[in-house]
Amino acid sequence: MVDNEKAARNKKISHVIMFIVLLVLFFCFVFPFLMVIINVFKTKADITVNPLALIGEHGFTVDNFPNAMQQMNFLPVFGNSVLITCCSTVIAIALASMTAFVIVRNKWKACGLLFSLMVASMVIPFQVLMVPLVSLYGGIFGVLNHRATLIFMHVGFSLSMATFMFHGAIHTNVPIDLEEAADIDGCSRWQTYWKVVFPLLKPTIATVAIIDAMGHWNDYLLPSLVLGRKELYTIPIATQVFYGTYSTDIGLIMAALLLAMLPILILYLFLQRYIVEGVTAGAVKS
């Protein structure tokens, strides 16, 4: 009895210690974000004098936001990012899941070859492809500076990983009996796929959507090579260009950085559980 009490007390103490350690670590992790948040409401002069103060001498100001939004052209840039991310992700999911379906259900040589090539291509880093991409699409086809080109490339790059994940999901989670039943009821393969198989893939669709959307939203190098005109910029490119132009106006920079982070942080607030689960599922499967 006494032993039990002692053990319970020890456990409690160790939990309290762990909780304190976690709190300290948590503070370290959010410290950079805190710095941006407290400085975004200060004037440039106040930030320079003391970036650690909660409120500057000149008081609380929200002027940085409208200025940064205007200089950064934030709304059109945000619209570009949303458009490119959504289109790339939706198209990649539709194409990859269909491809995985035909690969899993048929033992044709072409399917095997495509799948092996896709799996093998996952190790190729973007740096190996960037020069030929610019050379082909810029020099030979002349199709750079279009959102559609970037969407097409995003789709092409995300297909391998997405097909691989759908391959696993169809293989283990879609009973072939269901498809045969639909077949007997007179469905074509196309109908069977969209009416029977695709709805069963929902968890994997969510995982792929989260991983791809985050990747496309945050991608910098590929968009910076494809989109050279100001009106086509996405958030990461606009942030980079903005920083280069206004690096001395630190108040504006703070506002721009916060604006760049805000959309995804707000989304995270609502979809936190799905994002954490999706990312874990994606990482563990690959």
């Binding site: 492809l129 950085l257 936190q272 994002i275």
Partner: protein, 293 residues
């Protein structure tokens, strides 16, 4: 019967996989092969002609001291960052699976840096290193903090490592958490009945059963650190004096800044091979160490 004809197969393949085959080939396969051809030319990025130069680009790659320096620097950075990321991530995973209050909140918090792109993260940290830490150093009169670390050669590397650890630890933590959860509680209880204390049970039961998590995290951090670009660009931009130019940035500059597309592509290929060899060896060694319960 109908389903065995070649035309049926072609039609089905085209219907389901046609578009993705085209996109995949056009964006990955053809550029990869075309890239191999580009290493044999001296294209300047503008002209239509791509003069064939044989292996000259590979020769200049081997003579490019800056490239090998960048590669060596990347190796050092990768080793330190990979070790630290995984130690921190494992420690975090241990803490957030121990049944402490609010563990889901902590998990979500530690993961937050992964949501944001490297460009934005780099600028945020640049502010922290240049302004916040120096202000802290001045007000507390800590000498080491009162000048920006980004201004010195070793300091810039240290900053890159700190940001990488901060960026990836939360993500790897999630994988280790999944690993911790997959180890059956019965096994740990059995070990404790046999007289193991908590630390011994973790060392001798949990960790050996989590080898696949380690293999995976090491592979992910290795490849990501090796190819670091975004944070490198926004945090240090290679400064001071080009001392923090990582391999990927060197390749980018070689191709797009100095317009040596052929040499840049050859160096990219060398970088890819080094990364692939290291990654595959690591996975191979790791798989051998795996045990099952």
């Amino acid at each position: 019967m109908r389903r065995n004809t070649l035309s049926y197969k072609c039609q089905q393949y085209a219907m389901f996989a046609g578009l993705s085959t085209i996109a995949f080939a056009a964006v990955v396969i053809i550029p990869f092969i075309y890239g191999l051809y580009l290493t044999l030319t001296s294209w300047d990025g503008v002209s239509v002609s791509k003069p064939f130069v044989g292996l000259a680009n590979y020769v200049s790659t081997f003579q490019d001291a800056a490239f090998w320096q960048a590669l060596g620097r990347t190796l050092i950075y990768t080793v330190i960052a990979v070790v630290l990321v995984n130690v921190v991530a494992f420690f975090l995973a241990y803490l957030v699976t121990s049944g402490v209050k609010g563990q889901n909140f902590f998990r979500a918090g530690f993961f937050t840096p992964n949501l944001i792109g490297g460009i934005v993260l780099g600028y945020v940290w640049k502010f922290v290193f240049n302004r916040a830490f120096t202000a802290l150093g001045t007000s507390l009169s800590i000498g080491a903090l009162s000048t920006s670390w980004l201004a010195t050669t070793n300091g810039a590397m240290l900053c890159l490592i700190i940001v990488s650890v901060w960026q990836y630890a939360g993500y790897m933590m999630l994988i280790y958490v999944a690993g911790f959860m997959s180890v059956s509680k019965d096994l740990i209880e059995a070990a404790e009945v046999d007289g193991c204390n908590k630390a011994q049970a973790t060392m001798n039961v949990t960790i050996p059963l989590m080898v696949s998590s380690f293999v995976q995290c090491l592979f992910l951090t290795l490849t990501r650190c090796f190819m670091v670009y975004d944070v490198n660009l926004s945090l240090t931009n290679g400064e001071p004096f080009g001392s923090s130019i990582m391999a990927a940035m060197h390749v980018y500059n070689q191709a797009f800044t100095y317009k040596n597309y052929g040499t840049g592509q050859a160096e990219a290929l060398v970088l890819f091979l080094v990364c692939a060899i290291v990654g595959v060896t690591q996975v191979y060694v790791g798989k051998k160490a795996e045990v099952s319960a």
